[in-house]
Symmetry: C2
Subunit: 349 residues, 2 copies
Amino acid sequence: MTDAPRFLVLAEGSFNPLRSKTANACIRYSPARVAAVLDSTQRGKTAQQILGLGGAIPVVGSVDEGLAHRPNALLIGIAPQGGQLPPEWRAIILRVLDDGLDVWSGLHTLLGDDPEFAAHAAASGARMHDLRRPPRDLDVARGRVRDVAATVVLTVGTDCNIGKMTAALQLLDGLRAKGHRVAFAGTGQTGILIDGKGIAVDAVVADFIAGAAERLVLDAARDADIVLVEGQGSIIHPSYSGVTYGLLHGSLPHAQVMCTQPSRTAIRNNEWMPIPPLREFIALHERVPLRPAPVIAVALNTYDLDDAAAAAAVRATQQDTGLPATDPVRFDPAPVVDAIDAFHRARSR
Amino acid sequence: MTDAPRFLVLAEGSFNPLRSKTANACIRYSPARVAAVLDSTQRGKTAQQILGLGGAIPVVGSVDEGLAHRPNALLIGIAPQGGQLPPEWRAIILRVLDDGLDVWSGLHTLLGDDPEFAAHAAASGARMHDLRRPPRDLDVARGRVRDVAATVVLTVGTDCNIGKMTAALQLLDGLRAKGHRVAFAGTGQTGILIDGKGIAVDAVVADFIAGAAERLVLDAARDADIVLVEGQGSIIHPSYSGVTYGLLHGSLPHAQVMCTQPSRTAIRNNEWMPIPPLREFIALHERVPLRPAPVIAVALNTYDLDDAAAAAAVRATQQDTGLPATDPVRFDPAPVVDAIDAFHRARSR
């Protein structure tokens, strides 16, 4: 990359705390890279007003309006279920490519392989970055993580889009402050965007899910004492559990951090599947065979609760599970950081 | 297809009961489609001598020798771990394409997408059939199988290549003889070859494993009272468990048939992973969350035991698990057929 990207973030019709995961994470972890957010239904507001973060980043109502904020790239900031390109985005993408803006996408549809997009990009000199493009030379997993000296910690969760990536990212500073060499292993398009590397394990050919996870951990462990692996999906998710188990069995974590949202009682988009009580779900996770690993802390996502209810949820979770718990975004991540630190020290003794 | 295929089956260096799964299944279920098997290390033998089935089908030592048996297609009969094309096969494939033979492949490497193969095929009029090519329009799973009236039975197993496809195929006749409309849902390259349709769930983009399984069951259930779904991998397989869980959660079986090989004590190619005692493994399987389903019978693979030891293994399994058991290839499949029949009748009452 020659220039750091400065994004116009496409979040049309969906810019809110729950739906626009990629947009929100980019605003949280790299606000300087966001020029404007495109969502015509919320034109004129700021990111701060909608997300409670991102300050004065403006929400614009059209590509033209967005271009006035001088972005050099378009970021697809929302992930439609199934990850296909909604037809109405085609015109937007062609428009910005013609203007010479790069396009960054985490869709399953690999935009760089689209002949029309490729032709327009070639004509203007724009580049296409597909965050979900799998490496060409993946191998199957063979349990090679068993030979790694580093402590491998996987963030797991009761559902998709519940805080597994965010929890991992929020722990990095605290663990580094304790003197650990820590690596983040990004496994989804948003984690890869923020960390600048990784493999979207949900986009590889199914036989290679665990192999991709194994490679990520082996690579990350080279320069780290602790590897924080970004979890995906849920072991009870009707659509995506295969990715979750493959990631679990390829990364073979020593310990797990459980991520959950107290207000969510069923799998989103699959309301027929209830989320079991947390203590029961943790026990279930600790029994998943191959190399069973303890859940050593809980990271709560309380964005939809007021301060008092959030604090009460943290206390109730600590009491119910007997585990350290916090909302690592809203409150101090220290309880989870301390749990990983203690686990790592005990392992290394 | 204009002509029924008559295969030269490529099994170079690996034609034996354990390794050449696709070749063996084709010989078992469609012997008339096999002109010859290519394995220069066993030139001059017959399929019967090597597999105990297939009669006089000859093993040849070269492509030239194979062509003398007048095949009209080459079938890749072995599956290298990882499913990539071994470089030494390229010359063989080019040779037969130039001779006008079609090529049928179950490799992950999609041969039809190889520009050199495509050019040679176009020149001679040969066609490329990639059994693992995923459909273009897959969707994510949403638990739609819950609305299906048919009884869905999934064959599951302790390891890969242990008899899950064969068990399902061996049950079809017996269930039909009892008057049931039965559909086989092929999920791997060999099952698809034999049944003429299906989706290789290990070759789809990871997010769509369960979606592919869901579609297979919905399609099969349209004209069937009982759907037998071909299982894949194992819930404890370090390389492929993601496929196994995705298939389980997409197909949402009402009942499971457990397939195992009494002599196998660890996962093949991952000897560090022991296979738990069968009763324990069955209990584990019945606890996999989402829509837990009972294991109602056991299908043993006793090909490496003598008759007395095989019969003893069946008896021991019945006693140990309390379930009907048989080797559905070596002995009468009736105990498993009867178990499915009884389960289906009880469900339909």
